[in-house]
């Protein structure tokens, strides 16, 4: 377990201390079928052990944990868990999928890898929610219903993600949750995208595609075919054994030994399949999933950037509104002054209200929403503009309304301004964190690839060595045939 320093203070709980120990490793030691009530549905509970403490969790809780970590840390690459059983799995197996032993073993392995990857992550490993998952006697539903999970906004874009702004996260989250803050749609195109991340996004897209469609498929084919060959060898070995029974002397011995060599090929091939599954196929699967996770994380940053741009836009249009309102206000005031001067001076009393009405409607008429296209672009702005005209149509006291609007707009601008500052800082912090995370992940990936490929080679070496031995024995026996 690495002890890299993190920007987050550690929670100091028992689990945390355990994890920080050297060589601490999380084991999934078993899987048991159980149910909550005597007549209830059964599920598989996985036994998790670190050093001396043990706890049990089921698959759905792992899923829940992962989802929680992703929501708490949208800029971090949260490791994948083995996928849910697909319909194909259900269809292909004779027994109920849940009972299938190899499936259960595979899940055990992959869930164990998941927990250790999380534990090794400099940020995620320190997460207290993660610790509570590992703690015995903690009901997961409790964790879900208490902070911080209970306080998470629905949309991660409504919260501060960067650790730098963490100090006032709570207050800032409130600001971001305001319905003034726009939520960008997935198709939003950035006005000034970050070239570094643009590049990353392109690359990630390509590699994610490639991993799942090509590499994963092709390596699985090899393994499957090896399994089929293993069965063929078993049959052939039996045939040779039968053959040897019809012969006698050294010929019989030689054929029998050949049969044994072929049998050994069967055993070794089956063993190779198992080893490749665990040491190669599963990591490839993980990295396939990882590629998609990185995509998601990059997309989140992209949306945060989009959000910032939208807030800027929103702020600008509010400013324009304010300007126009204030212009109207000052116009109205000048008019009032002029009229009141006239009133006190002459008898050409004009109906002030009428004048006001005419004037303001004239004024309104000459202040149609400019840049029509852009204004209509955002629903918020559109409603504002409409409201503006509507109010004037039905307004009884335009002055008061206008002053009201000015006030509201100013308030909104304050909120937006603050949000913009928060978001800018957050985006910059998140971008930096994300870049760090990408670098860290890249290293992890290279290390994993290296380990996988070495394992692949070593498994083949072992396979060939063992086979070589048995075939050499057979050859020796064949040599003994005298003619």
């Amino acid at each position: 377990m690495n002890n890299r320093s993190s920007t987050r203070a550690s929670c100091g709980c028992t689990i945390d201390r355990l994890l920080r120990q050297e060589e601490a490793y999380i084991f999934i030691t078993g899987a048991q079928k159980q149910s909550d009530t005597p007549a209830g549905k059964t599920y598989i509970a996985y036994n998790i052990r670190i050093c001396d403490t043990e706890t049990k969790r089921r698959y759905s809780e792992f899923e829940s944990l992962r989802r929680a970590l992703s929501r708490l840390h949208p800029t971090l690459i949260v490791p994948p868990i083995p996928e849910k059983h697909s319909i194909v799995d259900y269809a292909a197996l004779q027994t109920r999928v849940k009972d299938d032993l190899p499936m259960i073993e595979k899940r055990k392995r992959m869930l164990q890898t998941f927990l250790n990857r999380v534990a090794n992550h400099p940020e995620l490993g320190r997460d207290h929610v993660f610790h509570r998952f590992l703690e015995s006697g903690v009901a997961w539903s409790d964790v879900l219903h208490s902070p911080p999970l209970s306080q998470l906004p629905k949309n991660p874009l409504q919260m501060v993600v960067s650790k730098e702004v963490n100090a006032q996260a709570h207050k800032y989250n409130m600001i971001l949750s305001s319905n003034l803050i726009p939520i960008p749609s997935a198709t939003y195109v950035l006005k000034s995208p970050d070239p570094r991340f643009e590049e990353s996004e392109k690359f990630t897209f390509r590699i994610a595609n490639y991993m799942s469609n090509n590499l994963d498929k092709s390596q699985r084919k090899v393994i499957r075919r090896l399994g089929e060959l293993a069965n063929d060898y078993a049959e052939l070995g039996a045939v040779y054994n039968g053959f040897s029974l019809n012969e006698s002397g050294p010929v019989a011995n030689a054929i029998e030994k050949i049969g044994q060599a072929v049998d050994a090929s069967y055993t070794e091939s089956a063993q190779m399949v198992t080893s490749l599954e665990g040491e190669f196929a599963e990591p490839i699967q993980e990295h396939s999933q990882f590629a998609h996770i990185v995509k998601q994380v990059l997309r989140f940053r992209h949306l945060k950037h989009a959000q910032m741009e939208m807030i800027e836009g929103s702020l600008e249009s509010k400013k324009e509104n304010l300007d126009s309102l204030q212009r109207m206000e000052s116009e109205a005031r000048r008019l009032e002054e002029a009229i009141s001067r006239e009133r006190t001076i002459g008898s050409n009393a004009v109906d002030i209200d009428e004048l006001n009405n005419n004037h303001s409607s004239q004024v309104d008429a000459s202040y149609p929403p400019r840049r029509a296209t852009k204004t209509w672009a955002s629903p918020v702005k559109m409603i504002n503009a409409m409201g503006h005209s509507l109010q004037n149509i039905i307004d009884v006291d335009p002055e008061a309304t206008r002053r009201n609007q000015i006030g509201k707009t100013k308030d909104a601008m304050d909120v937006l301004q603050e949000a913009l500052e928060i978001t800018r800082k957050d985006l910059s912090g998140a971008s930096a964190e994300l870049q760090t995370e990408l670098d860290r992940f890249q290293k992890e990936k290279i290390k994993d690839l290296r380990d996988m490929l070495i394992a692949y080679a070593k498994i083949h070496i072992r396979y060939c060595q063992r086979n070589l031995e048995s075939w050499q024995e057979a050859r020796t026996e064949v040599d003994k045939i005298s003619i």
């Binding site: 090509n214 092709s218 060959l229 063929d232 045939v239 053959f243 290296r450 080679a457 086979n467 050859r475």
Partner: protein, 459 residues
């Protein structure tokens, strides 16, 4: 792109092709077996196989014989349909041969057929080795004289002559000598054909109205021959089962090679995307492809040197069964005739006193029958004795051929695994040298100061 490489020639140093052994029937002691080595090319068929570095023939026994079939050449003048002739070289110390020095002649496939027929006629109770089947070689891909076709046929002919050479009786046959030696083959073979005894008229033709029981079986079966029959049947079954299973395995192995190759391709694609480990990944891809190549070589060798072996043995089994059947038939002949004789005697005894004319007739018949019974008895006895010898020859040949085949089989695997171990071991240094940055694990790290991997291809 993927290359269909021409494979390296496998290592054949221990392969045995021609083999000679002592004739057990003439010399009681058992002389050491002689191995002659010949190399077979599996890929380049244009070159004739290189002559073996044969051990000096220190078996001065009169019955050693080594024949080589090689150098297929197209012979045709202006004829549209040319034919292929093979160089047949013999080295033997059989006395009837003109010299013990190596002697070469050119023969075509038809000549081999002639030899086969001649031997069957001359030695009806011997198991004459079968010729390579015409249909199996097939007219692959329409090309009548394609290299693969020629090689397979040459191989089959070599096999045939090896067996003839090792047969104590057939190696000394006149037809064999003419085939192996004659410079004027056309005329010589015509000469002995005229002296060949045409099939003797069957006695049964003269019996006229006698009905032979076409479905007769041997009344007093000899356990020896039952055992032989049983053994050959089981051997055939075993070989057939192996052949069937092997064809399935061969297909799957081919599939596996394809799978490894596509996998290698995928790795190569990834190598283009991961710029920090491009080289090691590429090398890994190459390693995987080479592994597939080695597998293909192993499969070819298995097929050529072992499965072929088994197939030839199967044909030999058929030939043995034919002779066993003929022997049975001769015994049936004898037994049937004995029965007739018995009946005739009984009949004579019955009419002993009644009609003298008929009596004479029957006595005549009895006389003839007795002669025939004696004749067939001799035939059957001779046949049976020879059968035991033939079976011995067959067993020895089978043992030698099996040893050769199993050796090649084991060697092809040993070679594959040995090469593969070296191959996979050679990639380990490249992989292990992939740099990871966890040496500075315990240092303080500043955000953003991580080492950037080369270009923008990576994150």
């Amino acid at each position: 792109m993927l290359n269909e490489n021409v494979f390296d020639e496998p290592d054949w140093s221990s392969n045995t092709n021609g083999f000679s052994y002592d004739n057990r029937s003439s010399v009681p002691s058992f002389d050491p077996f002689q191995n002659h080595e010949q190399s077979y090319t599996t890929s380049t068929f244009e070159d004739p196989p290189t002559p073996s570095t044969s051990e000096p023939n220190h078996n001065s026994n009169a019955n050693s014989m080594v024949i080589r079939v090689e150098d297929p050449q197209k012979q045709s003048a202006t004829v549209v349909q040319g034919f292929i002739s093979y160089l047949v070289t013999t080295e033997t110390n059989v006395e009837t041969f003109s010299s013990s020095r190596p002697r070469s002649v050119r023969r075509r496939y038809q000549d081999f057929i002639w030899l086969h027929v001649a031997l069957e006629l001359e030695y009806p109770i011997c198991v004459v080795p079968p010729l390579p089947e015409k249909h199996r070689l097939g007219y692959l891909n329409g090309e009548r004289f394609s290299p693969e076709f020629l090689e397979r046929r040459r191989w089959g002919l070599q096999w045939f002559l090896n067996r003839v050479a090792n047969h104590p009786v057939l190696q000394k046959a006149q037809s064999t000598r003419i085939f192996l030696e004659s410079d004027d083959f056309k005329n010589d073979k015509r000469a002995i054909q005229s002296t060949k005894a045409v099939e003797k008229p069957s006695f049964f033709d003269t019996l006229g109205d006698v009905l032979m029981n076409a479905f007769a079986t041997v009344k007093k079966p000899d356990q020896r021959f039952l055992d032989m029959q049983d053994y050959v049947d089981k051997l055939e079954d075993n070989i057939l089962t192996i052949e069937k299973l092997y064809s399935r395995i061969s297909q799957r192995q081919t599939g596996l090679i394809r799978d490894y190759t596509s996998f290698a391709w995928s790795i190569r694609e990834i190598s283009a995307m991961e710029s920090s480990i491009t080289m090691p990944l590429r090398q890994f891809a190459e390693t995987t492809e080479t592994y597939g190549k080695y597998m293909k070589e192993m499969n070819s060798t298995e097929e050529l040197l072992f499965m072929n072996d088994l197939h030839e043995l199967l044909a030999y089994c058929h030939a043995v069964k034919d002779i066993l059947q003929k022997r049975d038939e001769s015994q049936i002949d004898f037994e049937e005739l004995s029965t007739y004789l018995q009946r005739a005697i009984e009949e004579r005894d019955k009419i002993a006193n009644s009609s003298p004319s008929k009596l004479a007739e029957i006595e005549q018949k009895i006389q003839e029958l007795q002669e025939e019974v004696t004749r067939t008895s001799d035939i059957t006895t001779g046949f049976s004795e020879q059968m035991s010898e033939e079976f011995e020859t067959f067993q020895e040949t089978k043992t030698a051929e099996l040893k050769q085949g199993l050796t090649a089989y084991a060697d092809s695997h040993i070679s594959f695994y040995t090469k593969s171990i070296k191959l996979w071991e050679s990639i380990l240094p490249a992989l292990e040298s992939i740099k990871l940055d966890d040496d500075d694990e315990n240092e303080d790290r500043h955000d953003g100061e991580y080492q950037q991997y080369d270009d923008g291809d990576t994150y």
